[in-house]
Amino acid sequence: MPMPVLPAPLADLMAALGKLPGIGPRTAERLALHLVQADPSFVRQLATTLTNARDRVQGCATCGALTELQPCALCQDDRRDATLVCVVERAVDVWLLDKAGTYRGRFHVLGGKLSPLNGIEPEDLRIAQLEQRLEREPLREVILALPTDVEGDATSHYLARRLAPRGLKITRLAHGLPAGSGLEFADDLTLSRALEGRQPIA
């Protein structure tokens, strides 16, 4: 019995969708089948939206956050504290921190973390750009808001060491218990970090 042949454009679409993060072969298949049977005007509009977004969104030349404007709105905002810069791993972290609402300084996206296991070295990150900003901008404190896994911690220490000669204040986010929860929800590593980072209470 001959195998049912998948039309080539459909197979191509599945292959393309399958390259997206979080999309396995099954989902790619379902999405592709949906798209080739959907209202043509919807699909055309989707295609335009896709290319538009890709063409118009770029990394901010200054901080690396995703933006349509150069420099981005966060870098242009005069009401933000220009003496503070918060260093994050990914562009999405900028939004997470900004959404939390309490931070009113500048941002800097590294675009990754040091990872010998994945071949990511200091030159692959936006560290030189950060140093240029420290020359140019009136920054006085660098806040490191990187992940606390092996690579994230190593990146924090690397930056702290590399920036130390500049005489800036360098801080990192506190490790500790999730706000509003009990001790039972913290794993051992978090608990021991929280204990190390304990603070006097008035």
Binding site: L114, S115, P116, L117, E121, P122, D149, V150, E151, D153, A154, T155, H157, Y158, R161, R162, D187, D188, L189
Partner: protein, 362 residues
């Protein structure tokens, strides 16, 4: 704690297996190459996610099939359903129907200790074997150990890669050294605390099994003597030559001494075999003691290797597992069927990838 149900699909020589087990003593009988050890392997795999035969997933897939499935139900503190699927392109692991995100949530659901011919490598093999044994023992008794070990391993591998670069970036090296030292110090500390609690159990087990006059001692020889950071700094010159991390818990040794002489060099074959069994017996006792319930014992044909007198030494462990409503699975070929185990046995006939319960023996 005991396994109440085992399901296999395309695992080794089992196309399909559904079996239910009660607590107590199970003897798996059958000729060679019928699949007795494969059953123990499946149970151990479910407990530890590793094969005690030291093989990867591909070797456990039934010939000609795509992937294997192993599922089990455990009755311990509550009932739990464990399921795993492995194929070259896909791995799935679930506990009570939920995908497992952190291994620490899964491990510990079923605790098992295996006795097999590979155990001899604990005595004769390189230090890696004994370190892995220590790691397993700690992972089975301290929930915080595995995350530390995983973190150490990742930091160490990163650091070694930095050392392998043509031009070593000192700042980068230092960044990974911090975790290696910090987490490594905790690992050394946990191992240092474990060994004195564990070694008396090994000594007693050895004496019971061997009936010999020789005195066994188990000693922890950590790579780090006092201060990891200092000792690592002192090794920097040599590290430049060897391009790898030369100090740390990944170089620890667990020394086995018979009358103060290294067992690996001076022990007879019989002594080494007894020592391996003593280590496993002590593991079962220690893990059982820490949790208040004995682990499931998986015994692969070791009784056959021991003479009747040495076998007697192992019986108390088996008896205890029996009394504490633990569970023991033991493979035997008909020939070396151990008489002294008495009649309270569930006997299973294993034949060409099927198992069948015999009525209670004799």
């Amino acid at each position: 704690m005991h396994l109440t149900r085992l399901r296999l699909r395309s695992f080794r020589n089992y196309g399909r297996l559904e079996a239910e087990f009660g607590p107590g003593f199970h003897v798996l009988l059958g000729g060679n190459a019928q699949g007795k050890t494969n059953l123990l392997e499946a149970i151990y795999l479910l407990a530890t996610l590793r094969s005690f035969r030291g093989v990867g997933g591909a070797q456990m897939v039934r010939h000609g099939d795509k992937g294997y499935f192993v599922g089990g139900q455990v009755l311990g503190q509550g009932a739990h359903a464990m399921r795993m699927y492995w194929s070259p392109s896909e791995r799935r692991l679930s506990l009570d129907g939920q995908p497992v995100r952190k291994l620490t949530d899964y491990l510990g659901t079923l605790r098992a200790v295996v006795f097999c011919t590979e155990d001899l490598q604990l005595v004769k093999g390189p230090g890696t074997r004994r370190r892995r044994f220590l790691d397993l023992l700690l992972a089975q008794t301290d929930a915080g150990y595995l995350p530390l070990l995983q973190r150490y391993t990742r930091a160490l591998r990163s650091r070694n890669l930095v050392l392998k670069a043509r031009l070593v970036d000192e700042a980068l090296l230092e960044s990974f050294t911090r975790d290696v030292v910090g987490v490594g110090t905790q690992l050394t500390q946990l191992r240092r605390e474990l060994v004195p609690r564990f070694s008396p159990l090994v000594r007693l087990a050895y004496r019971r099994i061997a009936h010999g006059a020789e005195e066994l001692r188990v000693e922890y020889r950590p790579s780090v003597k006092q201060d990891f950071a200092v000792e690592l700094a002192q090794a920097r010159g040599r590290e430049r030559t060897y391009r790898t991390t030369l100090v740390g818990p990944h170089r620890d040794e667990l020394q086995l001494l018979l009358d103060d002489r290294p067992a690996v060099q001076y022990g007879s074959e019989g002594q080494k075999r007894t020592l391996a069994i003593a280590l496993k017996t002590a593991q079962a006792e220690y893990v059982g003691g820490r949790h208040g319930t004995p682990p499931v014992l998986l015994i692969d044909d070791v009784m056959g290797e021991l003479d009747a007198r040495r076998r007697q030494g192992l019986l108390p462990l088996l008896e205890r597992a029996h009394q504490a409503s633990g569970q023991v699975f033991m493979t035997c070929t008909e020939v070396n069927w151990p008489e002294e185990l008495g009649s309270r046995l569930q006997r299973w006939e294993v034949k060409a990838g099927t198992i069948e319960a015999d009525r209670l023996v004799r």
